[in-house]
């Protein structure tokens, strides 16, 4: 329960509780989607009725470093029995990194009716709520997607170049060791797919993990998030802001909370992230 003085999230409808989902498991207008870092996890047991959408195999184009296009998205929706008016409720491991990532990709295709389960898989399991290995095959739907819109919530390399030239805000949500480049310098260890360690010039470092409660993976309260982003890091909800990490999954989590929980009007996710920037010829870095 919230106390009388506790602030609400900017858009409280987009975040649902595990209890809400339990009460709505059988609703036909809802499709639960699990999206994980480890795709095997779904098969060990999932929320009853949930389908799995795997970011590597389902959402990524297999030949271009990009997302699938309109036709493949329509096929994916159809295969999972998702209609244009279905409420898609995402959850997953890692405090919902991949759930937020899938949510973000759905938004690129204009699927507005989407929600995230606060706490994701960790909270559901900790509460002893039901899991099943039964995979339901839904009747195919007739989904009509918009053409993917990469302009509003997605940033590309050139957008970031423009952004830093104009002194606008960037957030690097990786760990401080990745931000400073320390992790690429450890002998004998594999790096994270980048030739150089460090961060995009001018980027603030606000690790994604600061926004979640360790025990159950839920987002911190609106007050705590405001303190972290607005007070401690001097950001403003009117800022033109780009977030990034290594490949765009952790930054999807931060993108989600900034846009929906704190009401940032113009925040974009740079999914090329460090694996593109850190490898690109001619792009500056800071350590």
């Amino acid at each position: 329960m919230k106390s009388k003085n506790e602030k609400e999230y900017f858009n409280k409808e987009v975040l649902v509780t595990t209890d809400w989902l339990l009460q709505n498991l059988d609703k036909k207008e809802i499709r639960i989607v699990e999206s994980n870092e480890d795709p095997l996890l779904y098969s060990t047991g999932h929320i009853p009725g949930a389908v799995q959408i795997d970011w590597t195999n389902d959402l990524n184009n297999q030949l271009v470093r990009d997302y699938i296009g309109k036709e493949d998205f329509e096929k994916l929706m159809s295969k999972n029995g998702i209609s244009n008016d279905t409420t898609v409720v995402f959850y997953g491991d890692k405090s919902n990194w991949w759930a937020c990532y899938a949510f973000w990709v759905f938004k690129l295709f204009g699927h507005t009716n989407a929600k995230i389960i606060n706490g994701g898989r960790l909270k559901w399991e900790k509460e002893g709520k039901p899991l099943t290995r039964e995979v339901i095959v839904y009747q195919e739907s007739d989904y009509k997607s918009e053409t993917r819109n990469d302009n509003d919530i997605r940033a590309f390399r050139d957008d970031v170049v423009f952004h830093i030239k104009n002194g606008m805000s960037l957030i690097d949500v990786r760990s401080p060791e990745e931000y400073t480049g320390k992790r690429l310098h450890m002998p004998e260890y594999p790096n994270e797919g980048a030739l150089r360690g460090g961060h995009i010039p001018g980027a603030l470092n606000v690790p994604w993990a600061k926004a979640v409660n360790d025990l159950d993976g839920t987002f911190k309260s609106a007050d705590e998030l405001e303190k972290l982003y607005l007070v401690e890091n001097h950001l403003n909800s009117d800022d033109d802001l780009i977030v990034y990490c290594r490949i765009g999954e952790r930054s999807s989590h931060t993108w989600f909370l900034l846009k929906y929980l704190l009401g940032f009007k113009n925040v974009k996710n740079y999914d090329g992230s460090w694996t593109e920037w850190g490898n690109s010829v001619g792009l500056p870095i800071q350590k």
């Binding site: 870092e37 480890d38 095997l40 098969s43 994270e192």
Partner: protein, 143 residues
């Protein structure tokens, strides 16, 4: 390549995707955490596999007959793939010798899990084998 490990790897190569998922989960279910006689929490960070998103720790020791024995801990309760690989390695490397461990080709990760693994996942799983190999080299050096 070590015969027992190679047989397990070939077994995985010859199954369809659904069978593979079931066997991997079965291996993950049989995962045994490092016993307290070997290590106790908080575990030393030099035993932790860098870049493995599941937070895997590896210990290598030499047993009474001079062969290596491996122990693992997986921090992330959702690290199913990591647990499966650790169990496969533990079983496949039973009674093998130190030198053979160094010859393991990290390609077995792809042969077991498939070639469409994400970059982060393959780095993490390969990192487990590389950590074992580094520890074994050190054991050879110190023996």
């Amino acid at each position: 390549m070590i015969d027992k490990l190679e047989k397990i790897v070939e077994f995985f190569e010859n199954m369809d995707n659904q069978e593979k998922i079931e066997y991997l989960i079965s291996y993950a279910d049989s995962f045994k955490e490092v016993p307290e006689t070997i290590a106790s929490k908080p575990y030393a960070l030099d035993k932790k596999v860098e870049y493995c998103e599941s937070g895997v720790y590896v210990w290598s020791i030499i047993n009474e007959v001079g062969n290596p024995r491996f122990y693992f801990y997986v921090e992330n309760p959702h690290g199913v793939s990591a647990k499966a690989l650790c169990s496969i390695l533990e079983e496949g490397l039973e009674n093998t010798d130190l030198q053979s461990v160094i010859t393991i080709n990290t390609d077995i990760v792809f042969r077991i899990f498939g070639y469409n693994l994400s970059m982060g996942k393959n780095l993490g799983l390969i990192g487990i084998i590389q950590m074992m190999q580094r520890q074994v080299k050190k054991l050879i050096q110190d023996s």
